[in-house]
């Protein structure tokens, strides 16, 4: 665990409650689990796993975290004109309830840190869709000092949707493609992340210079 001057609210301290009882607070131990991610084995029977995958594909719950300008085209998807809900896609407010993370556009280094935390809090199986050219190779911001160029260096990505910015129709097509891949059992992002955890962490720490959180926080 590497820690660079932790924020005061993360440091262990003794707290007096409103009713006068004193107790210790150690945020890193209380709020985070020291366990590292584990690979989840598939079900014992192929047909059961296929059934699970079918169920997973039909209920994609997107984390409502607009990381970039692509978030503006997510809004029309929620409304009757494009209506992503008819495909079993809906938006959730917290990472615990979501299984699909749409990285909507460029990621600055500061957002990347928050994205990693949100991603690690999501339950397995979980999927990542990179939206827009800037997640693929930097796009417009190929020479910017503050945006990452390849999203798959930092998180396992299942589907990329190209365009700047992609239209709602191409988002729908991308989600359909993701469903197809899930049904075929090819979206093992969460397991990939657990298997290559050290590689992903090394990449993440190479760009995030002030890493003041545990390595794996879920």
């Amino acid at each position: 665990m590497t820690q660079i001057d932790m924020k005061p609210e993360l440091q262990p301290r003794r707290v007096t409650g409103p009713d006068g009882i004193e107790f210790d607070v150690e945020p890193l131990r209380d709020y985070y689990c020291p366990e590292l991610p584990k690979v989840e084995p598939p079900a014992y029977l192929r047909i059961v796993e296929d059934l699970f995958n079918w169920a997973r594909a039909e209920s994609l719950w997107i984390l409502g975290f607009g990381t970039g300008c692509g978030a503006i085209e997510m809004r029309p998807l929620m409304t009757p004109r494009f209506d992503a809900y008819r495909y079993g896609i809906q938006w959730r407010a917290t990472p615990r309830q979501a299984n699909l993370f749409v990285i909507s556009g460029y990621l600055s280094v500061k957002t990347l840190k928050r994205v990693i935390r949100s991603y690690e809090q999501m339950q397995n199986p979980k999927y990542v869709v990179g939206l827009g050219s800037c997640t693929i190779n930097g796009g417009m911001y190929w020479d910017s000092y503050n945006t990452i160029k390849r999203l798959d260096d930092y998180l396992p990505v299942d589907v990329y949707i190209a365009g700047c910015m992609p239209r709602p129709e191409s988002l729908l097509a991308g989600f359909e493609e993701l469903k197809r891949l899930i049904r075929q059992g090819k979206c093992e992002g969460g397991n990939l992340y657990a298997e290559n955890f050290d590689w992903y962490k090394a990449n993440q720490k190479r760009v995030i210079h002030d890493w003041d959180m545990p390595d794996y926080n879920w």
Partner: protein, 392 residues
């Protein structure tokens, strides 16, 4: 400046250096982060709240999640190469960036823009303003639990985006305004289809008025809440609808007319109460004003003539040394570009002055003191801030 010191009589004492004496281990205060991953946040930003009970004692805005370094990137791009990226500074209303940057280049390069291009530019800016306000209305209602307004407003915005698509070829980013004019004239029959769109918008706006502005819950939570004192307007650099709702008729379309606004007949929309309800109402009436302005534009617009001036070969375009500032009234307030050239083919320095810069930082931090936690999201939306123009 005594007025700007918030009332904290029952809250933490001030330390000798002027900062608040907040002892987190006392158990009285709780530090709470709202955002960046939070549904009640405007764009990708966060507010670090220190709360006592359910009242906010101190709030600090944190931005920079959307920083791409535009001002640096533009220094290493030629003037024409800047155009694909300037519009990406502000997603909901990209055209204002194109207009301000194009006008700054035209002024320093001494280009004369054809008359008809001015009219088309004004048309695009007004269309973009409607889009931006519709985003706001959806967000403001959504932050107070009226989800259906978001659906209607997004539908109305989609209808307007169709017109944008027809005119420019793009839904969100248009890159239609270039130095010297605009890319093209209006398509055949555009005026009549626009008229149909405006009628549709008027219906939706009437529905929004009935459902949102007459809603008892909405009124209870917004009337008298989140007041911007008139005395804060100059010290905090408040512009646009936020200032107009306080009764200050700050509207650059009237104060410093640009494009064809002198030839249009309108009065700035102002309110009196300066609370969240008035700010929402000023913006609602501003949509109706923009609809009226678009009708006037179509009635008075010349239909013939050039839309693009002769410009030099853009690959070898150098602009003589100079500096200028171009501003205009976007949906949030004063949007401006400060451009410095040094005689080379690249801008020496571009600085974008977004209205959210002052609204979301100093003003918001001042306003959320003593607010209820549940009102913070609505308060932020009511300032109509877009984080990308703070950090670029």
């Amino acid at each position: 400046m005594a007025l700007l010191t918030p009332d904290r009589s029952q809250y933490p004492a001030l330390k000798p250096d002027g900062t608040l004496d907040i002892d987190l281990s006392s158990g009285k205060y709780l530090k709470l982060w709202q955002g960046p991953q939070h549904p009640g946040i405007t764009g990708n930003m966060s507010v670090e709240l220190t709360v006592c009970g359910d009242e906010v004692v101190e709030g600090k805005t944190h931005v920079g999640y959307l920083h791409r370094g535009f001002e640096k990137l533009m220094e290493r791009r030629t003037f024409i190469q800047c155009f694909p990226i300037v519009c990406r500074i502000c997603v909901p209303e990209p055209d204002f960036n194109e207009y301000c940057f194009a006008a700054a280049i035209e002024e320093l390069a001494g280009l004369e823009v054809p008359e008809r291009a001015h009219w088309i530019r004004t048309l695009i800016l007004e269309m973009g303003r409607i889009n931006s306000y519709l985003m706001y209305l959806g967000g403001q209602a959504g932050s107070l639990g009226l989800g259906v307004i978001g659906q209607w407003a997004t539908y109305a915005r989609d209808v307007m985006l169709d017109r944008f698509e027809e005119l420019t070829g793009g839904r969100i980013y248009h890159m239609f305004i270039l130095p010297g004019g605009v890319r093209d004239g209006l398509p055949e029959g555009f005026a009549s289809r626009m008229e149909a769109t405006l009628r549709e918008l008027e219906t939706v706006m009437a529905d929004i008025y009935d459902t949102m502005f007459c809603n008892a819950v909405f009124k209870r939570r917004t009337v008298g809440n989140g007041v911007i004192d008139r005395a804060w307007i100059d010290p905090y650099g408040v512009t646009g609808p936020n200032a107009r709702a306080a009764g200050v008729a700050k509207d650059l379309r009237k104060d410093k007319p640009y494009l064809v606004y002198p030839q249009l007949d309108f009065e700035p929309i102002i309110g009196t109460d300066s609370d969240m309800y008035t700010r929402a109402d000023v913006r609602r009436r501003d949509v109706l004003l923009s609809i009226d302005l678009i009708r006037q534009l179509f009635a008075k617009m010349p239909t013939q003539g050039a839309v693009m001036a002769e410009i030099p070969n853009v690959l070898h375009w150098t602009i003589p040394p100079g500096e200028t500032y171009i501003c205009g009234e976007c949906s949030r307030g004063e949007y401006g570009y400060y451009l410095v050239t040094d005689g080379s083919g690249y801008p020496r320095r571009v600085n974008v002055r977004g209205p959210s810069y002052t609204h979301a930082m100093a003003l918001l931090e001042r306003m959320i003191v003593n607010a209820n936690i549940a009102d913070v999201a609505a308060l932020m939306v009511s300032l109509h801030t877009y984080p990308p123009e703070i950090e670029r």
